[in-house]
Subunit: 437 residues, 2 copies
C-alpha cells in the first residue's frame, strides 16, 4: 500500500507560479554516499511551499565542478524565460572539495573578490573560541563580484545572494541544517518578500488525532477532503492520524480566518479523538490538563521499561505534575514493590487486566498521586502465545476517587518491539487524557 | 563549520565505474511539498556504494508525466554510451496520480500489458485482509511489454526491471521504505550481480566509541585516516564518535581480511573507548556483559524520567538481567522510596554526588540486584544556576561488592533538554560498561 497519495490534494498554486519557480540543488559527495539524510531538501521544500513559491525539481550532485555546472545550466535552461530561484546547500566549507561558490563564479564568468569585512568576521569567530583561523578558511571570504553576502550568524561559511543575469537568482547555504535554517529565515525570506517572490501566504494547521485510524478519519471528514481552499489532507505517522488544513490568502490573518471554521467543523465532528494541534503531543496535552486541575500522576511500567515516564518528562516543567514511578520489569518487583497479588499474577499471568489494575493502584499508593497509569504487555519478538500474542498490552488507570480501570490493546506485533512499546506508552497517555476531559 | 568534509575520503572507485553508473529518481509531489523526508534516496545511495556502483546524481520530481519524462531523458543522455541504471522510487500506487509505470512505457513506446498472475496476487493480498480489491488497484497489474516483474512481497504495488534499449536498465520501487528495501535486497541486488554490475565488493565496518570526541579520536588515529584501501573515516552523531573502515576487494571474505588488521590496530590504540561495532549499542553491549557474568542491574532515574530503563529494555531478552527501577522525579520519591538522606539532599541539593550515590544504593537495596545505576541532573531549559548550570548531571553506580561511585558530567545545556537527557542515559550505560570490563 502506498501512503494515501489519492487523498493528497495538489499543492496550492499561486497566481505567480507560472512565471516564477525555484529549484533545490544539494551539493555533497556525502549525500551520494548515503552518509547523510537530506533533511535540508525537506526543510527548503516545506519553506517554499509555505511561501507559495512553486518548485518542481530537486537535484543532488557531488563535489565535482563539471557536474555542478551541468546541473546549474540545466536548471536555468528548463525555466525558459521564467524567473528562476536556485537554492544551493552544501559545499561552502573551507576545504578543497568545497566548491560551490567558485564553480558558480566560473560558470557565470565573474571574478572572485575578497571581502575584508567577511574575513574579519570569520577571524573573530575563531578568536571567540580561543582558536586561530586556519589559512584554508580565508577562501570563505571570497565571493563572486556583484554577489550580496547572505550572512551566517552561527558559522564561518557565509552564503551569497546573486543575480548573475536577469531572471535568475542564486542563493547558497551551508550544509549544516541549523546554520542553513537560520540564514533562510533571517535573510532569504525577507529578501524574497521584498523582491515580490512572495505574493501570497500559505498557512497550515495540523490537527492531531489518537484512537482512530487514518482511513476511518478520512471517511468521517470526507466532505472536507475534496474542497479547494483551504485544503484538508490526511496523514498518518507512528500510530497517529493527522489532518493538515492549508489556507492560501493575502495575509496570515486572512489565512487563519479561513482555517478557523474548518477546524471548528472538524473538531465538532471528531470530538475527543482530536487531541491537539501543530506542536502538541499527547504528553504536553496531558500535562496541560493536569496543571489546570492541579493534579499529579505516577507510572508503573513493565514492557515499556520507562518509556512512559520518559514521554511525560519530555515536557519541561513536568515536575509540577509528574512525581515518578516504578519500572516493574521483573515480576518480583510487581509483587514486592507494587503489591500485585502473587496468586493473581500466577493465575492470570503478568500480562492481564488484573495485574495492570493492581500495578496502577500500587504505584498510586506508593507515590501518593491523584492518578496513576500502568502498562504490562508483550513487546516481542519472543514471549507470545496463541492466547497472548506479541502486541497484547493492558493499560491500567487509577483515578483520584480510588477507582481503577483497564484497557486491552492488540498492537501489530509484526511491526516490531519498538512499535508495540511506543504505542503502549502513547495509548496510556491517551487513556489519561480522555479521563481528564 | 561544515561536517568535516576534509576528513572524508573520496568514494572508492571500482574499475567498472567509468563505464557504468546509476541515478536515483524519486517521484512524488509529497517530496516537493516537504511532507516526506527522502530516506529512500539515502538507502539506495548507501546500497549503491556498498555494491561499488557509481552514482553521481539524484533527482526528485513531482507526479507529472511531462517532467518525469524530461528527467528520464536527461538521465539517459548524460550517460553517453555508458551503461546506465535508473532507480525509481514512488508513483506505483493505485491512484490516478501514480504515474511512473505508464509514463516510462509511453516514453519508450511500449504498450502496457496486463499480467493475470500479478492481478491474482494483488487480489489475494486484499482477500487475505478480508477486503475486496478496489477496481483502481487493477492498474498495478499493467506493466510495459518486455518488462520483468520486480515482486513486492509486502505490498500490492509490484515494480519492474526493464531494459527498453541497450545499455539502459530501469528499476521501479514503491515509495514505502519497508517494501522498497525488501525488493532491493531480495530481487534487485541478485539481478545486478548476475548481470555483472557488481564486479567488486565493498565491505564496511563501523567502530563505535563513547567518552571521546570525534576530533580527539581523529587525532589519535590520524595515520589511519590518510591511507587508501581500506579507507578509514571519522563520523559523529548524538554524542558518539565513530570510525568507518571500508575495504574494496573481489570477495566479502577478502574485504573482511583487509578490515581485520586495521580494526585490531585501532582497537589496540583506543582500548575501552571503543565499545562495539556496527549494530551494537551501549545497551546491547552492557546486556551482553551482564549475561556473561549472570549479573543483574536496576536503575534510579531523576532527570531522565525513565529513559535509561527504556534504553536497557530496547534490547529483546533484557529481562534476563534488568529487573526494573524507580523513577524518582520528585524529591519526595528520592527520600521515601530510595532512602536518600533528606538532610544531605537539603544541604547538597538534588543534583549532587551524594544524592546520586544514595539513589543507586537505594534502588539496589530495594530491588536486590548486583548493580545499580542512578541519574540526577538539570535537563533544562529552566532550573540552572551559576553553580549548577543546565547540563550538570551526576551518575551513581553501586557495585556488587557494596561500593558506590559517582561521575560528574557537564553536557552542553544549550543543545537542549533532549540532548542532556539522552547523553545522561548513555553515559550511565557507559559507566556500567567500563566497570564490567
Amino acid at each position: 500500500m502506498t501512503p494515501s497519495p489519492a487523498s493528497q490534494p495538489e499543492p496550492l498554486k499561486t497566481p505567480s507560479s507560472i512565471a516564477r519557480s525555484a529549484e533545490i540543488i544539494c551539493v555533497g559527495t556525502e549525500l551520494l554516499l548515503g552518509d547523510i539524510l537530506n533533511s535540508n531538501a525537506q526543510f527548503l521544500a516545506q519553506a517554499l511551499a509555505a511561501l507559495g513559491i512553486a518548485h518542481y525539481y530537486q537535484t543532488v550532485v557531488g563535489d565535482n565542478p563539471t557536474r555542478i555546472q551541468q546541473v546549474v545550466t540545466l536548471a536555468t535552461e528548463r525555466s525558459g524565460s521564467d524567473s528562476k530561484l536556485l537554492l544551493f546547500t552544501g559545499g561552502l566549507g573551507p576545504t578543497p572539495d568545497d566548491l560551490t561558490i567558485e564553480t558558480l563564479a566560473a560558470l557565470f564568468g565573474a571574478p572572485l573578490v575578497e571581502h575584508p569585512d567577511l574575513l574579519a568576521d570569520i577571524e573573530a569567530k575563531f578568536t571567540a573560541r580561543g582558536r586561530t583561523m586556519p589559512l584554508s578558511n580565508r577562501k570563505q571570504a571570497l565571493l563572486p563580484e556583484g554577489a550580496l553576502v547572505l550572512p551566517n550568524p552561527q558559522g564561518t561559511a557565509p552564503g551569497i545572494i546573486w543575480s548573475p543575469r536577469p531572471n535568475l537568482t542564486l542563493m547558497t547555504f551551508p550544509g549544516v541544517p541549523r546554520e542553513m535554517q537560520a540564514m533562510w529565515r533571517e535573510t532569504a525570506v525577507p529578501y524574497l518578500r521584498d523582491r515580490g517572490w512572495v505574493t501570497t501566504t500559505i498557512v497550515s494547521r495540523m490537527l492531531r488525532f489518537w484512537g482512530i485510524s487514518e482511513s476511518a478519519l478520512a471517511e468521517q471528514v470526507a466532505p472536507y477532503l475534496s474542497q479547494g481552499n483551504p485544503t484538508v489532507a490526511p496523514y498518518a505517522s507512528k500510530g497517529e492520524a493527522k489532518l493538515r488544513i492549508s489556507a492560501m490568502a493575502d495575509s496570515t490573518a486572512a489565512a487563519l480566518a479561513q482555517i478557523e471554521p474548518i477546524e471548528a467543523g472538524i473538531r465538532a465532528l471528531m470530538q475527543d479523538d482530536c487531541y491537539g494541534t501543530d506542536d502538541d503531543t499527547l504528553a504536553s496535552v496531558v500535562g496541560r490538563l493536569l496543571l489546570q486541575r492541579q493534579q499529579t500522576v505516577a507510572v508503573a511500567e513493565s514492557c515499556t521499561g520507562g518509556g512512559l515516564g520518559q514521554l511525560l518528562t519530555d515536557i519541561a516543567g513536568s515536575s509540577a505534575y509528574f512525581h515518578g514511578g516504578v519500572i516493574a520489569y521483573a515480576n518480583r518487583v510487581k509483587v514486592n514493590l507494587l503489591k500485585v497479588d502473587a496468586a493473581a499474577l500466577e493465575a492470570q499471568g503478568a500480562v492481564s487486566a488484573i495485574v495492570a489494575e493492581q500495578m496502577a493502584l500500587g504505584v498510586k499508593a506508593l507515590l501518593h498521586t491523584d492518578w496513576a497509569l500502568s502498562i504490562t504487555g508483550i513487546a516481542g519478538p519472543g514471549g507470545g502465545s496463541p492466547d497472548k500474542p506479541v502486541g497484547l498490552v493492558y493499560i491500567g488507570l487509577a483515578t483520584p476517587s480510588g477507582e481503577v480501570v483497564s484497557y486491552r490493546h492488540e498492537f501489530s506485533g509484526y511491526r516490531g518491539r519498538d512499535w508495540v512499546r511506543q504505542l503502549s506508552a502513547l495509548s496510556a497517555l491517551d487513556a489519561l487524557r480522555r479521563n481528564l476531559l
